[in-house]
């Protein structure tokens, strides 16, 4: 038999492999979703009430308060974390151990407990006194907002320190030396050289922590801070529409966090801009 008797590629019909497992998985997922949706539709939940309260004034004020608290907490947390991360990298042992101690204490005590302690600080210190300047009662200063800000901000700082620190360490010594060799001071190289490069490492976990904090602020409802869950509870204590109000909260959390995730994606892309492939980079010369 000569070689010419074999079929050429055009004479064959290619038959694709069938992924039975995938079809089965998809069918199961659709079935499960169907069961869940049906359960919620026929279950004892008045969707009309959910719709009615979705844009309720107190609910909207609640979600806005949740976000305000998140923003302030993250600002306090990041400022603390940058300071403590620099302390942790210091040559001075007192600064280093202080940093370690802070991180240990505030990461080992549960956040809800820290919140309750800050809110009840008046039991230990009834008055806050700055000699010759001012003396006020502690309960006046530690409003629910201030107590939540301190509790979450200081605890968040302890977690974020690790993130900032690994970011700073990701920038090689050579960068600091190059900056020093052109006459930059350490603080100049920190702002111009180290932090911009560290951001690539810092932004993804910091984004996750911000998103986590949006959810953690719900704990502040236990100290009467008027965030969204507190508003929902106030409404359902009066109306009895418990599950409907909880659904309203779930909707707003999902919406806010979805938006934050998109923003995070843009920020990450911004800090990665210098590592784009050469073809893309050459084009915008």
């Amino acid at each position: 038999m000569s070689k010419n008797d074999l079929n050429t590629p055009d004479e064959y019909v290619f038959v694709r492999k069938i992924h039975y497992g995938r079809y089965l998985a998809v069918a199961l997922i659709i079935l499960l979703l169907g069961i869940i949706v049906r359960a919620f539709v026929v279950g004892k939940i008045a969707w009309a009430v959910v719709g009615e309260y979705l844009f309720d004034r107190d609910i909207m004020a609640g979600i806005v308060n949740s976000m305000i608290l998140t923003v302030f907490v993250m600002v306090v947390g990041v400022m603390l974390a940058v300071t403590v991360a620099l302390m942790a990298g210091s040559k001075n042992p007192v600064l280093r151990y202080t940093a370690r101690g802070y991180m240990f204490v505030f990461r080992s005590v549960p956040i809800l407990l820290q919140l309750l302690i800050w809110y009840n600080l008046a039991l230990i210190f009834p008055q806050i006194t700055i000699p010759f300047v001012v003396s006020v009662s502690t309960t006046q200063v530690l409003t629910p907002f201030v107590a939540a800000l301190l509790a979450f901000g200081i605890a968040q700082g302890a977690y974020t320190t690790e993130v900032i620190r690994s970011g700073l360490l990701s920038v090689g010594r050579g960068q600091v030396e190059a900056a020093a060799s052109i006459g930059m001071t350490y603080s100049q190289s920190l702002y111009r050289i180290i932090i911009p490069q560290a951001m690539r490492v810092i932004v993804p976990p910091l984004g996750n922590e911000t998103i986590g904090m949006v959810k953690y602020t719900s704990l502040a409802s236990v100290i009467q801070y008027r965030e969204i869950i507190y508003s929902a509870q106030s409404i359902y204590f009066a109306s009895g529409r418990v599950i409907e109000m909880l659904m309203v909260c779930a909707f707003w959390y999902a919406l806010v966090i979805g938006i934050l995730s998109i923003v995070q994606g843009y920020i990450e892309r911004y800090y990665n801009r210098s590592s784009r492939g050469s073809a893309a980079g050459e084009a915008d010369l």
């Binding site: 050579g174 960068q175 020093a180 052109i182 001071t185 911009p196 050469s278 980079g281 050459e282 010369l285």
Partner: protein
């Protein structure tokens, strides 16, 4: 001729390791000096003591008559603040083995960073002169590229332009071609030879004997944290006196 760099009795210890065991030498203005020596002999440490990336354990370094890192007053040396030390460093250029370009900045931004942030020059003027320095190292067309888009040789030439942009009175080079693929070494050495001809004071740690022969006025040979032999390029390379120098030269030539 008055020396522009004066190194006197510089010692540097890292823990128990004595990287420099009391090194003294002067470098005249406009001189091109190559430092040769085996790995671990203290060449980098000596260079880094000149701009105080390492603070000498004892001894002093003067550049342009000023003691680096200290203020002199009635027989006392007071350690300078970070800002004052940074100002002194701005007059001493340095080129590193690993280039150390700022990867988040374009080539042009790398070169104007020092003039704009340290010397507070106007941005427009800095860009003008930065482009001239890039022209000089043959990379004006890469001004808007990022370092990651350049070859090693191109990156090192940008690093040279970045150092030149500060208009330093001396330039230090620490094995500027050791991290490069062999075919890229030539372009960097070419730029350095051109600089040497222009009258810039240069101190170069290198293993490129052929380059040293062509560009250097004087050669310093180091071993074990000390200067073993120093002399005019032709004399030292053609007729080394010290057996260790001879041994080293024989080894790198083959």
């Amino acid at each position: 001729m008055k020396p522009i760099i004066e190194i006197s009795k510089v010692r540097k210890a890292f823990g128990t390791v004595e990287a420099l065991k009391g090194v003294s030498c002067d470098i005249a203005e406009g001189e091109v000096v190559c430092i040769l020596g085996p790995s671990g002999s203290g060449k980098s440490t000596l260079l880094r003591c000149i701009n105080q990336l390492e603070r000498p354990t004892s001894g002093i370094v003067r550049v342009g008559g000023e003691i680096i890192g200290y203020r002199e007053q009635a027989n006392h040396l007071y350690a300078l603040s970070n800002r004052q030390l940074a100002a002194q460093r701005s007059k001493i250029g340095m080129v590193f083995q690993q280039f150390n370009l700022f990867p988040h900045m374009t080539v042009l931004e790398n070169v104007i960073e020092g003039p704009v942030r340290v010397k507070k020059e106007l941005r427009a003027a800095s860009i003008q002169s930065a482009l001239q320095f890039l022209e000089r190292v043959g990379l004006a067309d890469k001004a808007n590229a990022y370092p990651s888009q350049l070859s090693g040789g191109q990156q090192q030439r940008v690093a040279i332009a970045r150092a030149l942009a500060m208009k330093p009175s001396v330039m230090l080079f620490d094995e500027p071609t050791s991290a490069l693929d062999p075919e890229l070494v030539g372009e960097v050495l070419l730029v350095m030879k051109e600089l040497a001809r222009s009258g810039l004071t240069m101190v170069i740690v290198t293993h490129e004997i052929a380059f040293a022969r062509e560009a250097a006025n004087r050669i310093i040979f180091m071993d074990g944290g000390a200067i073993v032999e120093a002399g005019k390029t032709g004399d030292l390379l053609g007729n080394p006196k010290n057996p260790r120098t001879r041994e080293f030269l024989a080894a790198v030539r083959h």
